[in-house]
Symmetry: C2
Subunit: 125 residues, 2 copies
């Protein structure tokens, strides 16, 4: 797959949710993610499948005010994105790093890293 | 700069410390990092300069048992690496994401992301 195809797909992914719930586009997301997408993150652990992944993403979008991409790197079928998010709860700006693998024109794997310290306090104070 | 030069530099960086204090090579690191390297991470905040960065790295190497690279992506003068570390204190396996920018054959910028929850407990229980 051409490099730019991977970037297009990853940027379309962010474009489907980064502007808040009003623009959250589940139909478009299901066209971008493989049905058996594998997700891994500090709070949710490992999840397999768009059905398991999307509710968590929608929950995040509800507390997201703004997302700014700081760095994005892609090569072949892999991409990584570093971004800052302004969040309402916990209130503040938090940094996220996300690594993708693309297969057959779909996002097949997402590994998310962020400092969950303040988020854990919201879940179990 | 050719892509493989960026990868070589970033992998040389890890190679200078990932195998523990016995192999920690400060002279080699100073040849890899720009003297005014900019570092940013969840615990240390922003630091500028190899002199400000290296003591924190050495402190980390002292608690590092093993490092396994899961994904590395490079394009032009940028690279990102996703890795898991086995740590002695806090004990466990933790995931790290690191984004690099290279300038004039040196690492000029490092942005590190990880879940610092357990590490914060060690600093301020």
């Amino acid at each position: 797959m051409a490099d730019d195809k991977t970037t297009d797909l990853v940027l379309a992914h962010y474009d489907s949710w980064m502007n808040g719930m009003a623009s959250y586009d589940e139909t478009r997301l299901r066209g971008i993610l493989a049905p058996d997408v594998k997700f891994e993150g500090p709070l949710s652990g490992k999840r397999t499948g768009a059905d398991a992944f999307l509710p968590g993403l929608a929950g995040f979008v509800k507390i997201l005010k703004a997302l700014r991409i700081l760095q994005k790197i892609h090569a072949g079928n892999e991409a990584s994105v570093l971004y800052d998010c302004d969040i309402t709860m916990p209130r503040g700006t938090f940094r996220f790093a996300e690594f993708f693998r693309v297969e057959k024109d779909k996002i097949k794997e997402i590994k998310l890293v962020f400092d969950a310290t303040e988020f854990r306090k919201m879940i179990a104070p």
